[in-house]
Symmetry: C2
Subunit: 141 residues, 2 copies
């Protein structure tokens, strides 16, 4: 169970709790429709509208990571906001998670520049782009 610290007035509903838990547990990138399908198992009554509304809400509050989606078809969500490293094939659109592949996380000290400008940096997403092994093979044929 993830803990949410919501601003005064906003409510922690079952729908939000389950959506967030689900996103975090699955550790992958989901479109709104996929989140809907997934969450429906525990909340058969939930509506797509609610999923959209809550994704925006969680995103605004910083609980759900941006959307990402490089050459991906649809907007996607994931349950982590701090940092992520991905490799995305521009041909097949497949996303390879590099979290474990890359030794050590990217900690750019250049961030100090942005901090000095007065922004608050909370995390980052690194998207490496190119062509994956499998698509390279097909191209060469």
């Amino acid at each position: 169970m993830s803990v949410l610290n919501l601003p005064k007035g906003r409510r922690l509903t079952r729908q939000r709790q389950i959506m967030l838990d689900d996103l975090r547990k699955r550790r992958c990138h989901l479109t709104a429709a996929e989140v809907y399908q997934s969450v429906k198992k525990k909340l058969p009554q939930i509506s797509l509208g609610t999923v959209y509304r809550n994704l925006k809400f969680l995103q605004k509050e910083g609980y759900v990571a941006g959307i990402l989606c490089n050459p991906c078809e649809a907007e996607q969500f994931e349950g982590f906001t701090d940092h992520c490293q991905h490799f995305i094939c521009r041909i097949c659109k497949k996303v390879f998670d590099c979290q474990k592949s890359l030794p050590g996380n990217f900690k750019p000290k250049e961030l100090n520049y942005l901090k000095a400008e007065g922004h608050r940096i909370e995390g980052y997403h690194l998207y490496l782009t190119g062509i994956c092994k499998s698509c390279l093979k097909k191209t060469k044929k």
Copy 2:
């Protein structure tokens, strides 16, 4: 004028040329609708369908950078594929270009890992996330 090196059979049309030039000249992130509006100045007859088709085409060929869009509303395109560094405010969705801010480009030697796996890495996008100065001010109120 950007030079395109298209695969045999594919054509370099005025529409594609102008779209690419425009995307590169503007050096910013545009939705398909924005590209359409922008390109229309030079090509009043162009249709939205063509813009969508060509964005996908240019993207697949590697001429137009992925889509990006972190906490952005709609899919966005930009004219560079090699590397980009952005800071995105999760509240107002504004995108700050860090290209000039960050001294030196991010050249992760960890990329060797992916190369060893057989993938071809062509570029990267770094998205720093957080809350911008202006939104921070409003929050504190």
